[in-house]
């Protein structure tokens, strides 16, 4: 988690308290981001969280109302997209329907007055990069391509101008699952191979976790958390992040006492659990913790190991998911906690729990995330 303090020349994209308002709606609210050279950086959040507007601020398709956008160290707030070192892949590909694949890919080079023979060569190379055979596809019209092929053409069209920064706005949204997984790996490989900084907008948390070096989770126009996929998943700072990325059980209470590195929290119903005594944990403070389903265990009520926290409950359902088996446990307050157990073979070593069983859910005090208020 320790940043080795990147050189400012390595910061390819910098947003400093950048805001964008549309009428009375603040789409992007004082967002600050530093994106490093060559990084695969994702903007992740639910629809309407401002991730696409943030991307458009970087592209120059929107100008910030407040704050600064810096690209390669220069303030570019009022610069048009064609004056910025960026290329973009649009959500619906935005291929020019009246131009064939070759002319679509050549477009950016033609605008830059690249000589025709160089264009021909670079178009072929770009199509090769996205694994489209130039001899087969160069003369096709966009309407004669499948969704996946269009996606590749859009990518080639953006890569061919050799931008410092490639912006991708949910480029895989309209592609079927199998192809999407394939493209995810290809995009990641292209990012490594070309050394271009990728800024990737998605609402798909799994996609963001798979591809990104770092992720900015956005909510309501603000950045909720920035970090590596592991940091975001394992140390979510707020309930929103914990809930949006993966599944989570939340437990509330008031800090009763603090003893060195451990604090004890009392729930409204008097049951207690221990948490790591992180900053800000002081007696009398209300806290909320998040526990991932796979951090939990299910025990018979009298068999809980003393090292673990435990809350009593009744098994409501056991759900078979393949890799894991989820046990849904109804807690005293009426909420369901979800516990993910590794599937060790339900035919040979089945999970011993059935609906209606009296159980306890347990977890180690360190296996939780103490959340900040939002």
């Amino acid at each position: 988690m320790t940043d080795t303090g990147p050189q400012s020349s390595d910061l390819v994209v910098q947003l400093s308290r950048a805001s964008k308002r549309f009428g009375t709606v603040t789409a992007v609210d004082a967002v600050s981001l530093d994106i490093r050279r060559g990084e695969f950086f994702s903007l992740l959040g639910p629809s309407g969280c401002g991730k696409t507007t943030t991307l458009r601020l970087v592209a120059g398709l929107e100008e910030p109302d407040d704050g600064d956008v810096r690209l390669l160290g220069e303030v570019v707030n009022r610069r048009r997209p064609y004056e910025r070192p960026v290329a973009m892949v649009f959500q619906n590909y935005a291929l020019f329907p009246h131009l064939d694949v070759r002319r679509n890919v050549a477009f950016g080079l033609e605008q830059r007055r690249v000589p025709a023979d160089r264009i021909r060569e670079r178009v072929r190379r770009a199509l090769g990069l996205v694994r489209l055979d130039p001899d087969t596809y160069a003369r096709r019209m966009p309407s004669q391509l499948s969704g996946g092929q269009r996606q590749r053409v859009a990518l080639a069209r953006a890569l061919v101008i050799e931008p410092a920064i490639l912006l991708l706005d949910e480029p895989l949204g309209a592609i079927d699952l199998k192809l999407r997984k394939e493209m995810q790996l290809e995009l990641k490989a292209l990012n490594r191979q070309l050394g271009i900084t990728f800024v990737y907008v998605t609402h798909d948390q799994e996609e963001a976790l798979t591809m990104s070096d770092r992720i900015a989770v956005m909510n309501q126009g603000r950045v909720a958390q920035v970090g590596t996929p592991a940091e975001i998943y394992e140390n979510p700072r707020t309930a929103f992040v914990a809930d949006f990325i993966g599944e989570c059980n939340f437990f509330d209470g008031t800090v009763a006492e603090r003893d060195g590195a451990v604090a004890t929290v009392a729930r409204d119903d008097g049951l207690r659990f221990r948490i790591p005594a992180v900053n800000g944990v002081a007696p009398g403070r209300a806290v909320r913790i998040a526990v991932r389903p796979e951090w939990h265990d299910v025990w018979r009520p009298d068999e809980v190991p003393p090292a673990e926290n435990a809350l009593p409950g009744v098994v409501r359902d056991v759900v078979y998911l393949g890799e894991t088996v989820h046990v849904l446990v109804r807690l005293p307050e009426g909420a369901d906690a979800r516990v993910a157990l590794r599937n060790e073979g339900q035919l040979t070593k089945p999970v011993p729990w059935r609906a209606g069983d009296q159980v306890a859910i347990g977890w180690l005090p360190e296996d939780c995330q103490v959340l900040e208020e939002e």
Partner: protein, 294 residues
Amino acid sequence: MSGARRLLAGLNRRPQLAAASLLGPGTLWLLLFFFVPIAVVFAYSFMTRGVYGGVTGGFTLEHYRRFLDPLYLGVFRRTVTLAVSCTVLCLVVGYPVAYTIARAGRWKNLLLFLVVVPLWTSFLVRTYALIFLLRDTGFVNAVLLALGVVREPLVLLYTPGAVLAGLVYGYLPLMVLPIYVSLEKLDPTLLEAAEVLGARPLARFWRITLPLSAPGVVAGAMLVFIPALGAFLTPDLLGGAKQMMVGTLVQNQFGAARNWPFGSAASFILMAVVLVAVLAYLRLRDRAPMEAVA
């Protein structure tokens, strides 16, 4: 099931019957009131003229030959020139209008409405209004005289310019509307994509907007050119006798001159020109996917 529902269900099962019943009335109408009269006119164009109008049988190519007379060829040339000029002017004036409306956001509907409003009044009335504007003692001259721009009234009426002005005025909405439709359909993301790829405003217009609105331009050009070619009201009222066009010629032959066969021949020659124009349009349109249309 009610009778109507049973009928619909039956038609659903027999698509050919359904097609026939949908197309039937229109086909019958066109046969009766379009095809039959055209056939009659075509036949007339080869017959001899009757003394008091009408025709008296026989077969002759005389009327087509007569059209080759320099007098009528002149009329023909003037007609084509005027129709082409009118189309070009409508395009030059209409494209920016359509472009602005397509981008006018919440004013769009009001502006479209304003384009269509003139069509609510009879074309005849509006053409008379133009006479009041253009005549020696008309509004334009009054203003020019009052401003001291001219000492004597300009001769505006009964000139080719007056006819052209009238035609452009009359057919402008037919150019604006199809261009507007094609610009309205244009996906703004395409322009953004072009901009991020390095295209400045003018390049975006030439490379994206114009080619993608070409179908509208071609359709608008056809909608203006064809009626402009056959126009008779405007040249008659604003051009007077000196500015005869093929349309006025045909009207004349069926009216005052009482030479129906010659009028028929003239209108068939006009139709041949229109046919050539339409064929050209169809070729443009079919080639379009390669170059122009989405």
